[in-house]
Amino acid sequence: MKTCQNIRKNLSAYQDGEVGTAEKDVIEAHLRSCKACANQHEALLKAYRMLKSLPAIEPTPEFSRQIMDRATRVQEAFWVRSLGQALRLLPTPSAIVAAAVVGLLLGTLSGNFLTKRQFRPAWTLSAFHSDQALTLASVRAFDATPPGSFAEGYLQLAGQNPERSYEK
């Protein structure tokens, strides 16, 4: 009885060719001698053959073309989506204009604040000094940090330009 249980446990694998040669010989020998197990084997085979008789369906001739078309649409949608995501990362035009206006205002204010003590327009100087001041100013216009520039203001603030301007 134990043998029958073991044989039946392996009947499916035997039918599917999934047992080794030794196991196969044992099962075949048993099936020849045991009517009950042989009946079980036949029953399983019958169900198997019936299922195998189920007809296959064929894809329509345009089936692969339909898949390719859908793949193309997927690819296009991917690029559109990626572009959309990239564009969404950019600020809106009004935000860009607002940022530019704020930047200009801040730049002007800070520039004025940093340089107002060092640079005076030529017309505020006395007539005696005006020529000298204009000459010095024009010469210093070729400096790496010309007087009145934002760069000069920065260096001054950072204490890297201890020597002060021509007006001292």
Binding site: K9, L11, S12, A13, D16, E18, A43, L44, K46, A47, Y48, M50, L51, K52, S53, L54, P55, A56, I57, E58, P59, T60, F63, S64, Q66, I67, M68, R70, A71, V74, Q75
Partner: protein, 197 residues
């Protein structure tokens, strides 16, 4: 002349698909569309759903080509995608059936005109009539009544003739578990197809 896409292995073709080669993808479709379509048809028992889902399987292949590992067997990967989609679709179909059944019952109650049900049955193509034969319907119903894992295992074994090892990889189970699934599936099918005959 192994450079011709038609002669390349599935795995080599997938390597080209990963780089966006559409022709390689088309070769893969032509090579596997019939087997995938039939696998899904036998699992779900409905041609329209099978066609729709087969297209979905190949679209997943196209979209997920970058995640394919060349050391994995392509058919294992392909059938794993198909199996997962089948299981998801099966849940959706069950919900749809519940809805349709309640809808039809509502229609019957509201109107005695049974032509609505006749229309929903549709007109069958010659191929569908063949599939619709009494025997085929019995077989499809018997398959459909099997628990999901038994159905996947038996369809892969009987129709796609896959080894237990391959089925185990697709289903993410051990070989011995596949073996016992197949024994139970065959016994169930025998009960449904032979004993009830």
């Amino acid at each position: 002349m192994l450079d011709e896409p038609d002669e390349k292995s599935n795995e080599d073709l997938m390597g080209s698909v990963r780089l966006g080669n559409r022709h390689a993808f088309e070769v893969l479709i032509n090579r596997h569309q019939r087997s995938v379509l039939n696998f899904i048809f036998r699992f779900l028992g409905n041609r329209t759903d099978a066609e729709d889902l087969t297209q979905e399987v190949f679209l997943r292949v196209w979209k997920a080509a970058g995640t394919y590992k060349p050391d994995a067997k392509f058919t294992t990967w392909l059938y794993r995608i198909a199996t997962n989609l089948c299981i998801n679709r099966q849940h959706a179909i069950r919900i749809r059936r519940l809805f349709v059944q309640s809808h039809i019952q509502e229609q019957i109650q509201n109107s005695k005109d049974s032509s609505i049900i006749g229309e929903s049955a549709g007109i069958l193509s010659p191929e569908e009539r063949l599939i619709d034969s009494e025997q085929s319907v019995r077989l499809l119903n018997a398959l459909n009544e099997l628990p999901t894992s038994q159905r996947v295992a038996i369809v892969l074994r009987i129709y796609d003739e896959m080894s237990y090892q391959e089925i185990a990889q697709i289903m993410d189970r051990s070989v011995s578990s596949v073996d016992s699934l197949l024994i139970r599936a065959k016994k169930n099918l025998h009960r449904k197809l032979v004993e009830k005959k």
